[in-house]
C-alpha cells in the first residue's frame, strides 16, 4: 500500500474582500461575486512567500505523519511564484525541516498544477520502492495584474503531502494525467504579471483537461462518481469546479468540503491540494476521494485515494484548513493590499 502518510496546509491570515478590489477599479462587486462565486481571498504577509508557506504546511504534515524528517528521501516544491528564478525553494524548505543532506530536491512549475506534479513524482518514487518517504508541496503567492479579472482570485496558501508505505492515512488507488500544449495562461521570463486568453481559459483549457482527466482516471480505476464520498477539482474561481464536477456526474455535496475557494481564493499550485487537505479533515475511513488538478499550459493530474482508519488518529494533530480559513482574519484595504503585493513603485 502506498499513499499519504501525513498531510498539512497553511493559510495566511490576511484577507481582502472582492468589494475592496471592485471599488478600486469602479466595478460592481455583486456582479463579480455572482460570476466567480468568490467573496474574499488570502493575501500573504510582507514576510511570507512560497517558501515560508511551504515550510509551515510541511511542518503540519510532519505533525500528522509522525516520522523522522531524516527518513524523507525527496522534497519537491511546486509553485508558480518561487521566490528565486534560479535557486530551488526546496533546499530551504528541506533545510528548515531538518531533512538535508541525504535528500533529492527539485522545484516544479506547471502553473496551478505544480503541486500535484510534485505529488505525482513523490508518489511514484515511493511506489517504485526507491524511497521510504517523499515530500510534495504545492504552494503559491500568486499575483493578479491590477484591474484584471484574476486580481479577485489570485491568492496565497499551500499544502504538503508526505507519501510513504507506512502509517498510511489515504491509499493511492489510481492516477492519471492528461496534458496538451495549450497556452491559455502564461508568463514570459522577466514579465511581472501573467497574461491569459480570457474566455479561452475555459472550454479548451480548464474544462477539456479536467474533464478528460476525470473520465480517464475513473475509467482506469473502473469506478463511477457514486463510488466516491468526495471530489476535489482545481478552483480558479468558485464556478468552474462546480460546473466540471457536475458534468462528470458529481453532486454539490460531494464537492463541498474541498470547495475552499469562496473564502480563500485560488491558491494556484496549492488549490486542489488544499481542497484535498480540507476534504481529508472531514473524511472517514473507507471514503473514496477524487482530486483533479489543472495547470495552464495545460494539463490535469488525477488521483483517487481511499481513506484508512489512521485518519481518525491524525486529523487533529495539526490545524485544519477550515480553521485556518476562518480564524483571526485581518482585512486589508486596497492600498495596503497593493503595498503587500508590491504593486506600488517604491523609491528603492
Amino acid at each position: 500500500m502506498v499513499g499519504i502518510t501525513g498531510y498539512g496546509s497553511y493559510v495566511p491570515r490576511y484577507r481582502i474582500r472582492v468589494e475592496d478590489i471592485a471599488a478600486q477599479w469602479g466595478k460592481d462587486a455583486e456582479v463579480i461575486k455572482k460570476g466567480i462565486l468568490v467573496n474574499e481571498k488570502t493575501v500573504p504577509g510582507t514576510d511570507e512567500d512560497t517558501i515560508t508557506i511551504s515550510v509551515e504546511a510541511a511542518r503540519n504534515a510532519l505533525k500528522r505523519a509522525g516520522i523522522d524528517p531524516k527518513d524523507i528521501g525527496s522534497v519537491y516544491v511546486g509553485s508558480e511564484s518561487h521566490p528565486y528564478a534560479v535557486k530551488p525553494s526546496g533546499t530551504i524548505v528541506a533545510e528548515a525541516l531538518g531533512i538535508t543532506p541525504e535528500v533529492h530536491i527539485a522545484d516544479f512549475e506547471f502553473a496551478c498544477k505544480a503541486g500535484t506534479e510534485a505529488m505525482w513524482v513523490a508518489f511514484n518514487e515511493v511506489k517504485s520502492g526507491e524511497l521510504k518517504y517523499a515530500l510534495a508541496i504545492g504552494a503559491d503567492t500568486s499575483q493578479g495584474a491590477p484591474g484584471d479579472a484574476l486580481e479577485y482570485t489570485a491568492a496565497a496558501g499551500g499544502t504538503a503531502y508526505i507519501f510513504g508505505r507506512e502509517h498510511i492515512v489515504a491509499e493511492v488507488i489510481e492516477t492519471y494525467s492528461f496534458t496538451t500544449d495549450t497556452s491559455d495562461f502564461w508568463r514570459r521570463e522577466g514579465a511581472y504579471y501573467p497574461r491569459h486568453g480570457g474566455r479561452f481559459t475555459g472550454e479548451p483549457a480548464y474544462f477539456k483537461h479536467v474533464y478528460n482527466a476525470g473520465i480517464g482516471v475513473l475509467k482506469k480505476a473502473n469506478m463511477k462518481p457514486e463510488d466516491f464520498t468526495y471530489a476535489v477539482f482545481h478552483m480558479p474561481n468558485g464556478k468552474f469546479p462546480l460546473t466540471v464536477g457536475k458534468k462528470l456526474g458529481f453532486t454539490k455535496e460531494q464537492m463541498d468540503p474541498g470547495w475552499v475557494v469562496p473564502y480563500m481564493g485560488n491558491t494556484y499550485s496549492g488549490s486542489s491540494p488544499t481542497g484535498l487537505s480540507a476534504t481529508l479533515d472531514v473524511s472517514k475511513p473507507g471514503d473514496n476521494l477524487l482530486i483533479v488538478s489543472f495547470g495552464s499550459g495545460a494539463g490535469s493530474d488525477a488521483f483517487i485515494f481511499r481513506v484508512t482508519e489512521r485518519i481518525d488518529e491524525v486529523r487533529d494533530l495539526a490545524p485544519k484548513v477550515r480553521e485556518m480559513v476562518e480564524e483571526k482574519r485581518i482585512y486589508l484595504d486596497y492600498g495596503k493590499y497593493a503595498q503587500f503585493r508590491e504593486k506600488i513603485i517604491m523609491n528603492e
Binding site: 495566511p12 504577509g45 514576510d47 511570507e48 512567500d49 515560508t52 511542518r59 533545510e95 528548515a96 531538518g98
Partner: protein, 129 residues
C-alpha cells in the same frame, strides 16, 4: 547580510538549533564556544522549543530601514518554554492585541532580503496563540 553569513546562520535561524552544556546542563541559544554559566567547552546540539510567552514588547512606529514601510510593527522579548530568551517580531495581529505574558508560537518567515536581487534571509518570528 552577505550570503555567506546567511548560510552560516541558517540552521540556527530555520530550526532554532542551540546547545546544552555537557558540564552544567545550561541551554544556550544561539550556540557558543564557551558556556557562559560554567566556562566549559563541550556541548550537545538541542533544538529550542517553538512555544513561549512575551516578557516585554513594544510597538515600533519609526522602524528599522528594512521595515520602514511595515510600521507599526511589534518587537518583543520572548521566553521560550525552556527559559531561553529571544528577540523578534510578533506578527499577524493588530499591535493592540499584544501584552506581556501572552503565549506565542514561532513561525518561519522572511527576515530580510538584500534588495530585489540579493539573497533572502529566513528565520523565526512569533505569532500570538
Amino acid at each position: 547580510m552577505s550570503t555567506q553569513k546567511v548560510w552560516r546562520k541558517r540552521i540556527e535561524r530555520y530550526r532554532l538549533m542551540g546547545q546544552k552544556c555537557k558540564s552544567c546542563g545550561k541551554v544556550i541559544f544561539p550556540k557558543r564556544l564557551i558556556c557562559p554559566e560554567c566556562g566549559a567547552k563541550e556541548f550537545d546540539d538541542v533544538l529550542m522549543p517553538d512555544h513561549g510567552k512575551i516578557i516585554t514588547y513594544t510597538t515600533v512606529f519609526i522602524g528599522a530601514k528594512f521595515l520602514e514601510h511595515d510600521t507599526p510593527y511589534v518587537i518583543a522579548i520572548i521566553e521560550l518554554d525552556n527559559g531561553v530568551r529571544i528577540t523578534t517580531q510578533v506578527v499577524d495581529m493588530n499591535p493592540e492585541e499584544v501584552s506581556s505574558g501572552k503565549e506565542v508560537h514561532l513561525v518561519f518567515r522572511k527576515l530580510q532580503a538584500e534588495g530585489k536581487t540579493g539573497v533572502i534571509a529566513y528565520g523565526y518570528k512569533a505569532r500570538l496563540i
